[in-house]
Each structure stands twice: as structure tokens, then as C-alpha cells.
């Protein structure tokens, strides 16, 4: 086998994970562009220590680093590659997601809600237009996956709309036009009685998200009926009778007024025998207008990140499931804004890109009742944003797993001359350590080669690394031509540009 020397360097997107161990090494290595993780234990830890100390590593260890993307060719412009991947990835069809509001009406009057509640439900005309849109616009030439989020207003105030549309989507699966269909519901829980929950399950809903904003007295102050009535008891009663098979997420929206009460809600859920049966998701109340940051009411992402770690340790101690977002490459998009075939559907037929735009007609990109708009929804400031136009972001090791965060928050904060990085920037190391703590390797990006033995050291001039990132230190290994010339990817890949 012929070998050819190739100069490599460590990827600029490597992140050391976790605290320092007794041996002086972090617990793992994560790459924010590939999503690959390797625990720094055993031989790998030894190799990493050698690299930090400027020494060479064994052929097998060098092979892992190169093939798993922790090392790249010295001349590779990784930032340019990430940019190309994102620009292409967010224009790729990968299934469809619809966030559907059967109504904008609501039976609650929450003090922080950003929506204007409008009586009435989606008309039959709009429902049939939506079914036609899915059939003709989303499915097009080939079947696709469809997922739906029932949203509102309070979606369970218009159950007949959910019924008609769900059955239509399920029929499309039977016809072979959809590969799969699944749904989840965001509801305040007031109307989620056992018979309703069972019907949702039959209609393809496999998860419901219900909000409890604190222990009983706190929740009942923030989330009231329109007449001011309390709501905690009714929700808890419904949650206690949920059918098996319908996963439940309890959402806790926090700001300064209720954040300290989160552990007391954990206590109350435990007393109600609910804590072990649900997933808990604590989320920041955000200012989507951008004009109130910094705010006396809202928590800063950095504060939230610290608290999130306390709740994570509490969840581990008590043995319940806490959802904590973990860094993961977002090269095919940050959210449904970056999906060509994903829309937010208003009961009046307008299609939007972002949930927070719902009901604001000026932001609609198409109208279901006007077929001429179906094929070419208008681009918006959100869909056309450039996450690469910020010098600090360009230099950030988290860029491939962040891409500027929520497009709407980013846009609005910039309008008001502010910059707010997502909370994950402040706790990614601990979150990743928690996520991968029990695993030694998670590798999903692999260069094609089974020939590690041909990858040989010595590495050259690898100095001590910064504590959080390892950026751009060149070293050299010899790589067989069969590896150098292979096309990296899941198996292999090629890119063709049609001119």
C-alpha cells in the first residue's frame, strides 16, 4: 500500500467536556460540527495527554482522531465547510412539520402570554385547503414524513378540527402518500380529561406538553382562567389519569418571579405521584420583542444556565427525567424556520414560519385559501438570516451547534442593539458530560477506512491546549492514499452542482 504524508491539525470545533479528572484530563472530547464524542479514558486519555504535552500518539489513536473528525487536513477551511453545509442543509427537504392552531381562542389568561386570543375555530374551508396543501404541496413527487404540533390558543377548545385533520393525515399514510404521521399537543391541560387524552392517542398524538409554572399557589397566580379562577387542581387531576402510551412533558416557564419555586414544584409533583411518570422541561420566559432585555423580570441566559445545572443534579438525585437541551450540530437548521416544508398554520389559513408570528398577518408567507401562494412562500428575514455575519460567532467553538440560536430572538435583539447568546453557551461542558457520561464513544461521522494501522505518527509540535478548546495546532501524520482519496460521509458522499 502506498502512503502519502498529509499534514493535519486538530479541529477548531473540538470541545473538552466535563471537569478536570485526577489525572489532569477532562472527561471527554466533543466536536460541535460532527457531533462526535469520545470519552477520555484508557488509551484515548493517554493519547490526549500526549497531544497536550507535544508528544506523538499511536497509529490507532491517530486513526480515530482523523477518521472521526477530531483532526482535519491542515489546509481545510473548516468554517467555510460549516457555512456551506448550513447554507445547503437548510434548503434541503427533510420531512415536513406543521404547527397547527385549530383556534387562537384560549380559556386561560396567563400574565406572560404573547398571543392575542381570538374567538372561533378553523373553518371547514380552511381545513380542506390544508389537507389539499399537504397532499399537493408537501408530498409532491414522493412520500414524506409528516409531524404535527397542535398549538393555539388552546387547541383542545377546537377538538373537532383536530379530529378532522388527524383522520385526513392518517388516511394519507394508508394511501402511501405519507411515510409516517405523528403528532404532539401543547395544551394548558384544563380540558385534557381521560376521554380526550384517549382520543388524542387514537388520532396519532403520542406526546402532550402541559404547563405548570410552580407549586399550586404560584401556578394559580400566573395561569388563571379568564375569570381569574385557579387551574392547578384540574390539571393535576387530569395528569393523574393519563392513559399509558401518551408521553407527558410538564413545562415550567420561569422568570424571576417564580424561578425559586421550581424545587417546591418538584416536591408537589412527587407528592402527587407524578414526578416519575413525566418528563420535566424548565424553560426561560423569553422576550420576543427584544426591547425588554435586560429585564428586571426576565432571567438572563447565563443565570438560567447555572440554575439548570442545579435542577439537573436534583433530577439525578431524585431519579426523574429532566429535559436539558444538549449541543448538537444544527447544520440542517436551527428550527422549523429553516425547513422548506414546515409551516405554522393559523385558523384563518395564513402560513407562517415562526410560532411567535402566529396571528400577525404581516408576517404570513402564504395563504391556504389562495392556491397561487402555495408553491412559493415568501422568504422572510428569519429564513434569510446569516448566522455568519457576527465576528464573535465566527470565532465561537459552538457555532456549528448554535447557528445563532433562536432566529427570532437573534433578529430582535440585534434590532435593539443587544446580543444574547443562548444559555447552552454557559453550561455546555456540564451538559455534555451528563449526556455522554456513561458512554465511551459516540461517533456518527466516520471517514471510510478500515485501515488504522497505516496511519502512523509522529505528530509534530503539538503544544499545551487551552482548557476549553483546541484550535488549529498543526501536526503531521502519514495517511494512506486509499484513505486520503476516499469520500468521507456516512458511507460515502459526492456533491454535484448543476450549472
Amino acid at each position: 500500500m502506498t502512503s502519502q504524508s498529509t499534514r493535519l491539525r486538530l479541529s477548531r470545533y473540538n470541545v473538552e467536556v466535563g471537569g478536570l479528572s485526577e489525572s489532569g484530563c477532562p472527561t471527554g472530547l466533543f466536536n460541535t460540527a460532527t457531533g462526535n464524542y469520545v470519552a477520555l479514558i484508557g488509551d484515548v486519555e493517554v493519547a490526549w495527554r500526549r497531544l497536550r504535552g507535544g508528544e506523538g500518539v499511536s497509529p490507532a489513536e491517530a486513526g480515530l482522531l482523523f477518521r472521526a473528525g477530531f483532526a482535519v487536513e491542515e489546509q481545510l477551511d473548516e468554517l467555510r465547510a460549516v457555512r456551506l453545509a448550513f447554507e445547503v442543509g437548510r434548503r434541503v427537504d427533510q420531512g415536513s412539520h406543521l404547527t397547527i392552531a385549530p383556534t387562537l381562542d384560549c380559556n386561560y389568561a396567563c400574565d406572560y402570554c404573547f398571543e392575542e386570543h381570538v374567538p372561533g375555530a378553523m373553518s371547514s374551508e380552511v381545513q380542506q385547503a390544508l389537507i389539499g396543501f399537504v397532499r399537493e404541496r408537501l408530498v409532491r413527487q414522493q412520500p414524506t414524513d409528516l409531524s404535527v404540533t397542535w398549538f393555539g390558543g388552546e387547541p383542545l377548545m377546537a377538538p373537532s378540527v383536530i379530529r378532522v385533520l388527524s383522520r385526513a393525515f392518517q388516511a394519507l399514510v394508508t394511501e402511501g402518500l405519507l411515510l409516517s404521521y405523528q403528532a404532539h399537543t401543547i395544551t394548558n391541560g384544563q380540558l385534557l380529561r381521560p376521554e380526550m387524552a384517549a382520543e388524542l392517542l387514537a388520532l396519532g398524538v403520542n406526546q402532550v406538553q402541559v404547563t405548570l409554572d410552580g407549586p399550586r399557589e404560584v401556578h394559580d397566580r400566573r395561569r388563571t382562567l379568564k375569570n381569574g379562577g385557579a387551574t392547578f387542581a384540574a390539571i393535576a387531576n387530569n395528569l393523574a389519569r393519563m392513559p399509558s402510551g401518551l408521553a407527558t412533558v410538564i413545562r415550567i416557564n420561569v422568570d424571576r418571579s417564580n424561578v425559586s419555586t421550581v424545587p417546591r414544584l418538584f416536591d408537589e409533583l412527587e407528592t402527587l405521584d407524578l414526578l416519575g411518570r413525566v418528563t420535566v422541561d424548565v424553560a426561560l420566559v423569553e422576550d420576543f420583542s427584544g426591547c425588554e432585555m435586560p429585564s428586571e423580570t426576565l432571567l438572563a441566559p447565563k443565570e438560567f444556565a447555572g440554575l439548570e445545572m442545579e435542577w439537573m443534579r436534583e433530577a439525578e438525585r431524585r431519579g426523574f427525567r429532566l429535559h436539558v437541551a444538549s449541543p448538537s450540530p444544527r447544520l440542517t437548521g436551527v428550527c422549523q424556520v429553516d425547513s422548506l416544508n414546515s409551516f405554522v398554520v393559523a385558523p384563518t389559513g395564513e402560513l407562517y414560519r415562526c410560532w411567535a408570528e402566529l396571528g400577525n398577518g404581516g408576517h404570513a408567507v402564504a395563504q391556504l385559501l389562495n392556491r397561487l401562494t402555495w408553491s412559493a412562500p415568501e422568504p422572510t428575514g428569519l429564513t434569510e438570516r446569516d448566522p455568519f455575519d457576527d465576528e464573535e460567532c465566527l470565532a465561537c467553538v459552538l457555532l456549528p451547534s448554535c447557528m445563532g440560536g433562536c432566529p427570532l430572538l437573534r433578529q430582535n435583539h440585534r434590532y435593539w442593539g443587544q446580543k444574547v447568546c443562548p444559555s447552552i453557551k454557559h453550561n455546555f461542558s456540564e451538559v455534555l458530560a451528563g449526556r455522554f457520561g456513561q458512554e465511551s464513544r459516540v461517533v456518527r461521522y466516520v471517514r471510510d477506512s478500515n485501515d488504522e494501522s497505516a496511519v502512523i505518527f509522529p505528530f509534530a509540535a503539538v503544544g499545551p491546549q487551552p482548557s476549553q478548546t483546541t484550535v488549529g495546532v498543526p501536526f503531521a501524520i502519514q495517511v494512506p492514499s486509499s484513505v486520503r482519496n476516499s469520500k468521507p460521509g456516512v458511507r460515502s458522499a459526492s456533491l454535484r452542482v448543476v450549472q
Binding site: 489546509q75 467555510r80 427533510q94 447544520l331 434569510e384 461521522y445 460521509g489 456516512v490 456533491l495
Partner: protein, 69 residues
């Protein structure tokens, strides 16, 4: 290398950055598809920067075809 594809000229592109980008996208697609993407063919029909185009729009645009096999 040029070839014809659906009436368009196809040029093989293999700069290191493009190759690396494809590998990253392939890994991301694999994750979202839960590793069911062997043989996945991803096709988009607009150059990324020509964002006003749409796959089914009548507006002419410069198409890009990406194939991961």
C-alpha cells in the same frame, strides 16, 4: 467532469471544503433519519444564496443537486 442530469449540466465538485461539508451534512441527515439514510438522496433545486427560489416555483433558478449514496 460534466454530465447531464434532468436537462442541466452537472459538474462534480470536490474541493476539500465541499467534501467536508457533505460529510457533515450526511452525518446530520443520518441522525435526523435515525440512521435510515443509506442510499438517501437529497435534492434541492436552488443555489443556497438564491433564496427567493422555491423547489416548485416557476421562477427560474440555478439548481443544486446533492446526492449522498
Amino acid at each position: 467532469m460534466n454530465e447531464k442530469n434532468s436537462g442541466s449540466t452537472v459538474r462534480q465538485v470536490q474541493t476539500p471544503e465541499e467534501t467536508h461539508a457533505m460529510a457533515l451534512l450526511g452525518a446530520d441527515a443520518a441522525k435526523k433519519k435515525k440512521d435510515k439514510c443509506k442510499g438517501l438522496e437529497i435534492v434541492i433545486t436552488c443555489k443556497p444564496q438564491l433564496v427567493s427560489c422555491d423547489p416548485v416555483a416557476s421562477t427560474p433558478c440555478d439548481p443544486v443537486v446533492i446526492v449522498i449514496k
